[in-house]
């Protein structure tokens, strides 16, 4: 199930908007493709992110996967619990497995992201 209230990147990151704060993570589809996540490398609080550029890396047993920022802005909170329990990304990609909270610089950037239906179509196209 793809949550309706989130926005998505084609690279499978999601963004949840609450005012000018955006929480980001990766989709259930992405975690099930990556599997066996053992490490998530995230930026520190205060780091400035730019939309669609790399901000971190997921390591699975098999390979490393780059993470791309859904929006530009400053990192105001990092999910530190992923350091000791990266498997939360596999188990709970939309809740416990979140990565960062970002203070957006330009909320209109969200318009460039996919909605749930668009993301569903994107997954189906990628899988076909």
């Amino acid at each position: 199930m793809i949550p309706q209230n989130l926005k998505y990147m084609e690279s499978h990151e999601w963004a949840r908007q609450e005012g000018d704060i955006v929480t980001i993570g990766i989709s259930d589809y992405a975690q099930s493709e990556i599997q066996d996540i053992v490490y998530v490398e995230l930026p520190e609080v205060g780091t400035e992110l730019t939309q669609k550029t790399e901000f971190g890396v997921i390591e699975s047993v098999k390979a490393a996967f780059d993470l791309y920022a859904p929006v530009s802005g400053e990192v105001i909170e990092v999910n530190e619990s992923l350091l000791d329990a990266p498997e939360q990304v596999n188990e709970s990609p939309y809740d416990d497995g979140w990565f960062l909270k970002i203070k957006m610089t330009d909320p209109s950037e969200l318009d460039a992201l996919l909605d749930a239906d668009g993301y569903q179509a994107h997954i189906e196209a990628e899988h076909a």
Binding site: Q35, D36, V38, V57, S60, V61, A63, A64, L83
Partner: protein, 358 residues
């Protein structure tokens, strides 16, 4: 991409597939970690039908195999298996392989999937006594049963013998549930186990005999993902990652499979000369000291000096830390075990450890 006779079985088990050596192979069925741990604690079932098999027999066969092998096939008797390397004239490794002696003039060579064509050409090029060399890879399926429970799983299907009596690196030709099988006590996991060679037309039957017993024993089908982490923990090199045509056996710690005394083989001169001159690279095992994962190709440093690179690296599901092999300068003395590995532009601490890891 080529598919094994078990492709549809994997599809029905919802395997994720990957390309390996020109083959479309199962990468994983459930999770690499779960599959890995099931081999360590219970049992796993692998389709390795992508591996190549050559049937070599007839006049001149002993001389042909002997001159290609760095290891001494004179040590083989019927029913024994030998791990060996083929080297080229400059001492580089053409392939690593298993040699099965079926009779005093009949061998089976089991080679890496990606090297089947190269190896066949190599063997044929040096076959000047009319030895029969047949690539039987297409007609041969290979299913591996690996893990502490493999003996108890296999035994009920082999009524004529107790398979626990097949020693390590020995094989028998027998039947499993009536299916003619070469039952080999070998593997690539570091666990007790068997590699089972059958006719491709029997592959699905054999899989279907073993699969329910494997599941019953809390085992799993295992893909190439876990095969890679299992062999890494067991300290086993992988051709194409840890060695290639430009690497000699000494540089990857496989010198004990080079038997030079009183015999001739291709590459011997170059290998002896290289040894005399001094081997410049060595292969070591390492363990990361933080959460960073070192992958193949990453640069290795010691006290700021670039000393080599990672050839294989992954998280170890059994040890719950990140491990790998690195090819580093022979000048490095292993008493100073501290090294640094560059992961995405930053140096991360690691230490050199003895192989195997488990």
């Amino acid at each position: 991409m080529k598919r094994t006779p078990l492709y549809q079985v994997h599809e029905s088990l919802n395997a994720k597939f990957t390309e390996f050596g020109g083959w479309e192979m199962p990468l994983q069925y459930s999770s690499i970690v779960k599959e890995h741990l099931s081999v360590r604690t219970n049992v796993g079932l692998f389709d390795l039908s992508h591996m190549g098999e050559f049937d070599v027999s007839g006049p001149g066969v002993n001389e042909l195999v002997q001159k290609l092998s760095t290891n001494d096939i004179g040590r083989l008797t019927d029913g024994r298996v030998l791990y060996t390397l083929f080297c080229n004239e400059t001492g580089g490794i053409v392939d690593d392989l298993l040699i099965y002696r079926r009779a005093d003039d009949h061998y089976m060579l089991v080679v890496n999937a990606a090297n089947i064509d190269k190896d066949l050409t190599w063997v044929e090029t040096h076959n000047n006594a009319g030895t029969k060399v047949k690539d039987v890879s297409e007609n041969t399926a290979l299913i591996a049963l690996q893990g502490p429970k493999s003996i108890e799983i296999l035994n009920p299907f082999v009524p004529k013998r107790d398979v626990s009596e097949i020693s390590f690196f020995r094989f028998v030709v027998d039947e499993i549930a009536g299916i003619p099988t070469t039952i080999s006590r070998t593997g690539y996991t570091g666990e007790i186990g068997f590699e089972l060679y059958v006719d491709a037309s029997d592959a699905e039957n054999l899989w279907n005999v073993l699969y329910p017993a494997v599941i019953e024993a809390d085992g799993q089908p295992v893909g190439l993902g876990a095969r890679d982490t299992l062999r890494l923990e067991a300290g086993l090199r992988l051709y194409g990652m840890d060695m290639d045509d430009d690497t000699n056996p000494f540089e990857v710690g496989l010198g004990k499979f080079v038997k030079s005394k009183g015999r001739q083989f291709i590459g011997k001169g170059a290998l002896l000369a290289a040894k005399k001159k001094g081997i410049v690279k060595q292969m070591v095992g390492f363990q990361m000291l933080d959460r960073a994962v070192a992958r193949a190709g990453y640069a290795v440093y010691q006290q700021g000096e670039h000393i080599g690179s990672v050839t294989s690296g992954a998280p170890s599901p059994s040890l719950k830390c990140n491990i790998g092999f690195a090819s580093i300068s022979s000048k490095i003395t292993l008493e100073d075990e501290g090294i640094d590995i560059e992961v995405r532009g930053r140096l991360h601490s690691a230490k050199i450890v003895n192989l195997p890891f488990i």
